[in-house]
């Protein structure tokens, strides 16, 4: 019987249980961070249980770490008392249970979904879990990765396994080449705008088709990252030469690399017939997307006008966002930029934004934060002089972390500001109470900063 990439990786991890019922799966790698781990560690202490595989557990500090004032290199730089307590708790827990921690100031520290691939911890065929919904990100390299809850974290700590019911297979077939100025972010936003916030619920999703071959690993990570907003708990891309080239030589990549690659090559979908459902998208004529409302499906091509109010949810979104039906996307006033997050906080994202901002300045009244996804991204960007471009344009160049993607610590977008953001969620209050988020690609966000409103960024690429 034809099986999918997902089937193959899943089946390989089953310890017990039949398809259709909860199955016990082995967890190859457990990523943890300061926000969702304190209770599970406490649970271990309360019950006197052990952490089974500290060697398969890797910790970082990302959600709550401040990204300014710089540099944030020791705990003393964390002024927010609660954030500090959470970070100190993780430090202690990692010491007590023997878990490796990419600590504040450590060269490896960063957003968990940025550092996993970058360090080569994320590998094809691995089953990876993390107490964070965007764990699907790691599937871009052919891993089976998904977010878990706090009780599940404690369960993985003790047993190195997790109970799951196998979802069905959804193939997303991407064809055509992206126009200059259009990115993976636009593909994923277009899919969610078209099919809604739950179209992939109950499915493991695979992106496949000729477009994928064009995409770098960093772009693929954007796809598998953000598709969670379409309801996919897990998303994968078949590992190919691009994947193998990307992982080669990374810190935690296998030493006998050719043998590993030989094993990884078996992880593929035999035939599209193996999918339970297929969605097609031709990306050739795709325009850059911008979200206008309060969930990621409330998004449109940048040359569109805002839709009529169809229901209560939309009415509420209009009110919160202070926008009017019929208004053109390009007339939304932008007074804040956020460039960063696990969706678009990697080096290529910063490069794309810097390309647009080079030689320009932010429009009057626009404030911008650039937050690299990890310390390694920050250093690499600085080597390329990107920090100088951002600063010259009037942006604040900050330390790595999740920052205003979820605004847990003082990194918040002020109430009432319209923020063009490279993140993944535009829920009410997500970037700060009353903050109005507009999701878009790094290039679109950068261009919006220059004009103080969105513009079709493709025009920048025509001039080239």
């Amino acid at each position: 019987m034809a099986t999918t990439l997902f089937d193959k990786v899943w089946d390989r991890h089953v310890i017990t249980g039949k398809a259709g019922e909860p199955q016990l799966l082995y967890v190859d790698l457990h990523l943890i961070h300061e926000v969702t781990s304190p209770q599970p560690f406490d649970g271990l202490r309360e019950s006197g249980r052990q952490l089974r595989r500290p060697d398969r557990t890797f910790a970082t500090i990302d959600h709550n770490v401040p990204t300014a004032p710089q540099p944030v290199t020791t705990i003393a730089d964390v002024k927010d008392q609660i954030a500090r307590r959470q970070i100190e708790t993780l430090q202690k827990n990692c010491r007590d249970f023997g878990v490796h921690l990419a600590d504040i100031g450590d060269a490896d520290q960063g957003i968990v979904h940025v550092i996993g691939p970058h360090l080569g911890l994320t590998q094809p065929g691995r089953l990876i879990v993390c107490g964070d919904s965007h764990t699907s990100t790691h599937g871009a390299l052919g891993a089976l990765a998904f977010g878990i809850g706090t009780s599940e974290i404690e369960h993985v700590f003790t047993t190195q396994t997790i109970w799951q019911v196998k979802p069905k297979n959804l193939g997303v077939h991407l064809t055509g080449h992206l126009a200059p100025g259009v990115f993976a972010k636009d593909i994923v936003m277009a899919l969610i705008a078209k099919y809604g916030t739950n179209f992939a619920e109950g499915y493991a999703l695979e992106f496949y088709g000729p477009t994928i071959a064009d995409l770098s690993i960093e772009s693929r990570l954007t796809l598998t990252n953000m598709i969670i907003e379409g309801g996919a708990k897990m998303a994968m891309i078949q590992p190919d030469q691009t994947t193998f080239d990307y992982l080669r030589g990374r810190r935690y990549a296998p030493k006998d690399y050719e043998q590993a690659v030989a094993e990884w090559q078996q992880f593929k979908t035999d035939s599209p017939a193996a999918f339970d459902r297929i969605i097609e998208l031709d990306v050739s004529n795709l325009a850059p997307y911008v979200s206008w409302g309060t969930n990621p499906a409330m998004a449109l091509p940048c040359d569109a006008t805002l839709p009529a109010i169809a229901d209560q949810n939309m009415a509420r979104a209009y009110q919160y966002m202070d926008l009017q039906p019929g208004q053109a996307i390009t007339t939304i006033p932008i007074n804040w930029l956020f460039i960063g997050s696990c969706t678009n906080g990697r080096l290529s994202d910063l490069q794309e934004a810097a390309k647009i901002l080079a030689g320009h300045h932010l429009a009057p009244g626009v404030q911008a934060w650039v937050v690299p996804g990890s310390r390694a991204v920050q250093r690499a960007a600085e080597r390329l002089g990107l920090d100088q471009i951002f600063k010259a344009a009037g942006c604040e160049w900050r330390d790595p972390g999740c920052s205003a993607c979820l605004a847990m610590n003082p990194d918040k977008v002020p109430a009432g500001k319209h923020c063009a953001s490279t993140t993944n969620r535009n829920f009410e209050g997500r970037q700060g109470p009353g903050a109005r988020t507009h999701l878009a690609s790094p290039a679109m966000v950068a261009a919006a900063g220059i004009y103080g409103h969105f513009v079709d960024v493709r025009q920048f690429y025509e001039q080239e």
Partner: protein
């Protein structure tokens, strides 16, 4: 985990679709280090005025007649968004024993099964009927027979037998899994070096 067999309680209708976990429990409360005590911040943004303490008068969760409600009736796609289990702790700590929605975000659904909050999927017509019941209406959820009843009204629901079993027994996941300790060890012994 507490056992769940039959529960009788009163309804709390909040019929919005797509209620996400940021709405259920905003992230500022994720900084806490405990598993209990989240009841008073459930629906924080909708529930309080800008000062964070004065109740919003027109929000149903604040209505005196609804303070004993234990069954949340809601829309489609309940609990999407961030995986925070705190959202379920908040629902539980407020006093909800069951949530009746059109559908659930998959992570929240799993989190419900670990905290003794029964997630039930019912079609829209049923939920609309339930949402119109008076605050004192007694709704009975019978997990053994998989029914929701109120007076003469009655609906069937489906649930995966394994989750049902867990609710009925009130078992801790880890205890259950440790029955498979030998198989886990055997699996580890035969793993690929690249896993």
């Amino acid at each position: 985990m507490e056992k769940f067999t039959v529960h009788q309680g009163t309804p709390m209708p909040i019929m919005n679709d797509d209620i996400d976990t940021d709405q259920l429990l905003p992230k500022q409360f994720l900084k806490r280090l405990t598993k209990r005590g989240y009841g008073d911040v459930l629906f924080y943004e909708w529930r309080y005025q800008a000062d964070g303490v004065t109740p919003q008068e027109n929000f149903i969760l604040n209505e005196p007649a609804r303070q004993q409600a234990s069954i949340l009736i809601t829309g489609d796609n309940f609990g999407i968004g961030s995986s925070r289990e705190h959202a379920v702790w908040a629902l539980r700590d407020w006093g909800f024993k069951a949530i009746i929605a059109g559908s659930f975000g998959p992570i929240l659904y799993m989190n419900c099964t670990k905290n003794g909050v029964l997630p039930i999927e019912l079609e829209q017509a049923a939920r609309e009927t339930l949402s119109e019941l008076p605050p004192t209406a007694k709704v009975t959820i019978d997990l053994v027979h998989q029914t929701v009843k109120c007076g003469a009204l009655s609906w069937k629901f489906t649930i995966n037998p394994a989750w049902k079993e867990k609710f009925l027994k009130g078992e801790d996941d880890i205890d259950q899994t440790m029955k498979f300790a030998d198989q886990i060890a055997a699996y580890e012994a035969q793993m690929s070096p690249y896993q």
